[in-house]
């Protein structure tokens, strides 16, 4: 059997006596959006940190493109093509939108131990960065300081940064958090356009968005995957309704 793009094998993580991730196994293939949902405190963010390399699991494995990357940190996994976005917007406010993205291009375009040529004038870096901005519809704001962008635009920028890394897998931690209906709609359009080229692990609270985008959904409750399947199955699952959907819709 061909191995998936990204695979989590029995991840476990505890903080003190509190088990936050309990034997989580998941897989993600290219061209697929696998959504991860669950009530607050279910351990979604802790899981994302383990997948991206910010936290190390107590046991279990994270495999990316057939290799064990469990011991690699955030930066090393990013270089291998596993990009993540953050629940709380993580950009460089003092850089222009373009330079935020150019930094990501630079990370995989040759050495960054170059000391003299002004990086801001490197046409190759700026060209690719501009392309990524265009892909998320932010090219008109390229020269603005990133800190001056609206919240929705910052979410778009963060996506552009992830795309500029030319990753194979995208790990998106609540990309719609705090966006208005129009911005959310725009981001959903962008995400579905991106889907064929990447494997996307999507953590999201916005249920209509999840059911519109996801090919598979896994439900996390109290650190455990309590259900996993196609959207229709999840919608029908009694345990899920009890743990999550019911209270959301109520």
């Amino acid at each position: 059997m061909a191995e998936s793009l990204l695979e989590l094998r029995s991840l476990r993580k505890s903080f003190g006596g509190l088990a936050v991730t309990r034997d989580v196994s998941l897989s993600l293939s290219t061209g697929e959006i696998h959504a991860l949902i669950g009530p607050n405190g279910a351990g979604k963010t802790t899981l994302v940190h383990q997948v991206s390399g910010t936290l190390r699991p107590d046991s279990g494995q994270v495999r990316f493109e057939g290799e064990d990357v469990t011991r690699l940190g955030l930066a090393a996994r990013a270089r291998r093509g596993l990009a993540r976005s953050f629940q709380i917007t993580c950009i460089i406010p003092g850089f222009s939108a373009l330079e935020n993205v150019a930094l990501a291009v630079q990370a995989r375009a040759g050495s960054s131990f170059r000391f003299f040529r002004p990086a801001g004038r490197e046409a190759a870096l700026n060209g690719e960065a501009m392309e990524a901005l265009r892909e998320v519809g932010l090219h008109g704001r390229a020269d603005l300081p990133a800190g001056a962008l609206s919240h929705g635009e910052k979410r778009q920028l963060e996506l552009a940064i992830a795309l500029a890394m030319r990753p194979r897998a995208l790990l998106l931690d609540e990309p719609l958090a705090g966006t208005g209906p129009e911005e959310a709609e725009r981001l959903i359009r962008i995400l579905s356009a991106l889907k064929p080229r990447y494997g996307i692990l999507l953590i999201e609270h916005d249920m209509p968005a999840v059911f519109a985008l996801a090919d598979r959904i896994s439900v996390l409750a109290e650190g455990r995957v309590i259900a996993s399947g196609i959207p229709a199955e999840i919608r029908a699952d009694a345990a899920v309704r009890a743990a999550y959907l019911g209270e959301e819709e109520g």
Partner: protein, 307 residues
């Protein structure tokens, strides 16, 4: 405003170039200006760390001191050729920065400050205990370095312009570094380390490289300081001196090397002026610096930008 960042330093360099011919040509004035320019170099190198990399070092004077003591050790061995002494001093300071930085940069924030302070104090006590180089009393050089066998550096005017050239070169270098790919990674990791890591940059090697470069520049400044005074003492390495350097950088503004340049010149000149006014000048200087921090958040550079 990018052009202002360049215009101000160029104006300052022009003023420094003219100074000897418009009433500041006497020995005392030139010595003072040389001192200001040398501290300017050291402050600019520190600004690469503080403003560029976000590394607040309280041990920068030690690197200056290592450069100065390299001159002493070679002077003691009768090696006084600048073309030999300078590269050796720069190399030793860079090596000291590499070894101490490799440890210090594993930490950040207050811990980084404390570790650089600790290494600085170690260097200070080492210098104090070197009896053959004068210990606490310091060491008087036989003379200034020779340049290609000539006694050019003894010439006050030549020494003035040598300092000016090195100062301008340092400014150009650090300006270029901060705009380069390397500098972009440093700045990114300072503003948002998680973001830098998330696109694939582990900041450690970049920060260490910046620390070594800053150390090398400070070492060169140490060589010039030793030659300016023709005397070297452990006082060069005190943590108070590191604090002064840090103050120059903050006084001038963290937005770029031009801030440190202005901060250093202002610091040395105000210090000199006050010490002529009264014996108790420190009583005025201290509060003055505090007021500067309160009312000029972005330093002198920020003040000039608004004006």
């Amino acid at each position: 405003m990018r052009w202002r960042n360049a215009a101000l330093p160029l104006l300052i360099f022009a003023a420094l170039a003219l100074a000897p011919f418009v009433g500041f040509g006497q020995g005392h004035s030139l010595t003072l200006l040389a001192r200001a320019m040398i501290f300017g170099m050291a402050a600019i190198s520190l600004s690469l760390l503080v403003g560029g990399a976000g590394l607040v070092s309280l041990g920068h004077a030690a690197l200056l001191g290592v450069g100065a003591y390299a001159v002493v050790v070679l002077d003691h061995a009768r090696v006084t050729e600048a073309l030999v002494v300078m590269p050796v001093a720069i190399g030793v300071a860079a090596l000291f920065a590499l070894l101490t930085g490799a440890v210090a940069i594993r930490t950040s924030g207050v811990h980084f400050i404390m570790i650089t302070l600790a290494f600085g104090q170690m260097a200070f006590f080492t210098a104090s205990s070197l009896a053959i180089f004068g210990g606490d009393d310091g060491y008087t050089l036989y003379g200034r370095l020779e340049l290609g066998g000539s006694r050019l550096l003894e010439n006050r005017l030549f020494f003035h312009f040598a300092c000016l050239a090195l100062l301008a070169g340092t400014w150009l270098l650090v300006e270029a570094l901060l705009r380069s790919r390397f500098g972009r990674v440093l700045r990114a990791a300072r503003e948002n380390e998680t973001r830098a890591r998330a696109v694939g940059f582990a900041p450690y090697p970049f920060r260490l490289a910046a620390y070594v470069i800053a150390g090398a520049i400070a070492g060169l400044a140490g060589v010039m300081l030793a030659n300016s005074a023709e005397f070297v003492a452990p006082a060069y390495l005190t943590w108070q001196r590191s604090g002064d350097l840090l103050f120059m950088v903050i006084l001038g503004g963290l937005a770029g090397p031009h801030g440190a340049l202005m901060g250093a010149l202002a610091f040395v000149l105000i210090e000199e002026w006050l010490s002529h006014l009264t014996e108790h000048w420190r009583l005025i200087f201290g509060p003055l610096l505090i007021l500067c921090v309160f009312f000029m958040r972005d330093g002198i550079a920020g003040l000039l930008r608004r004006g």
